[in-house]
Symmetry: C2
């Protein structure tokens, strides 16, 4: 029964490791596979960290999850892509900002957020079929259904694009929700206390000026 | 005249360095001080990268800009804060996602974004007055005007909080705007092409359930 998707057996968790257990607010950490997947699937821009010339580098980039693998892509000439040929130690982080937490005390101000941090080694994808599927997944991560409604990469474009894979093995989520945690002795202070929700929204799609006017808005965009 | 805020003299730019000049899309990079400041001032959550036990770590955290300094804070017991006592090499990145760029070809799909990447060494702030001002700035970065309308940190809270400073010296912005860049030979393909704008919005503030009902919504929140 531990293989059931609703069990709490070991296969449903990423085992905590020394570096995925936070030093503080441990109660906010989760290693639950479904939680990590859901947070990853609700975004497509991550921050990818790696080491270059002995110093940390953090760059925003697109990602897509396919099962227990995360894919990112870039120019074959870019520095992190080249470094991922023998294997590159990375930390890939995805953050949702859900609200501003205003406590009566400055100290207890906080942010409601949901984040995932993945540690591991990124490798360049050599298999052409896996690469093609990863590129489709990267387009569909941004707009589900779009990969099938665009011209696939040709040989020249495929050669110019590197895809990098990171296995979801050492991963954790961290989540803060709810109202501020004010001190008992602060409750009578005359300061407003509460949460300001924050979310992302999509505006009305803007067609390219050179778009054939007979091409209407696709169904997969109409609902956004 | 090169000191004028409207000149394009060297003081208005962060000088490009080997690691702030991108290997591709160089036309998207900017070292303009006002551009970097504006992008930093329009957010308060960054991704902070550093090296721990030889591996990269990327964590989301609050930041505030005060002049040419960036401040972040954390528990005095947290690992990056302790590491910043002698000085910690960091990369601090802020990203705005402004739109989804849908090209006729999968290859030319992109994201409209504005990002800032800062490289440098973070140091713990020892001066109590600078620390106090930085903590006010961190509250005001999230909600301007809020620091003056909350109880300031007491001695115990100040002792539990570490503030870290990163000088804005090696910084660059990268910006993509506008429609997709389709290939000439793709213009007659039957795929919708354009941009889906994305922005962040704030919802109606939610008062804490234990808030004295005579305390109304402060003016600095009413306009959000």
């Amino acid at each position: 029964m531990s293989h059931s998707p609703h069990s709490s057996g070991p296969l449903d968790d990423y085992g905590p490791t020394e570096r995925t257990v936070p030093t503080r607010s441990k109660e906010r950490a989760s290693y639950d596979r479904a939680t990590v997947h859901a947070l990853l699937d609700d975004e497509y821009v991550c921050h990818l960290g790696f080491i270059r010339d002995g110093a940390p580098v953090v760059l925003p980039t697109l990602y897509a999850r396919v099962g227990e693998r995360i894919y990112v892509h870039g120019s074959t000439g870019s520095r992190p892509m080249r470094a991922a040929d023998p294997g590159l130690a990375v930390c890939l982080t995805v953050t949702h900002v859900d609200g501003l937490v205003l406590a009566r005390s400055a100290f207890h101000h906080s942010i409601n957020y949901r984040s995932v941090v993945i540690h591991g080694t990124a490798y360049q994808v050599a298999d052409p079929e896996e690469k093609r599927l990863a590129l489709d997944a990267l387009v569909d991560a941004v707009v589900p259904g779009r990969a099938a409604d665009s011209r696939p990469a040709n040989a020249r474009e495929l050669a110019a694009t590197a895809v990098v894979r990171l296995d979801l093995a050492e991963a954790s989520a961290k989540i803060r929700t709810g109202p501020p945690n004010d001190e008992a002795e602060d409750m009578d202070l005359p300061h407003w206390s509460g949460v300001v929700p924050r979310t992302r929204v999509y505006g009305t799609p803007i067609p390219s000026s050179d778009l054939d006017p007979s091409i209407g808005l696709p169904e997969y965009l109409a609902g956004r």
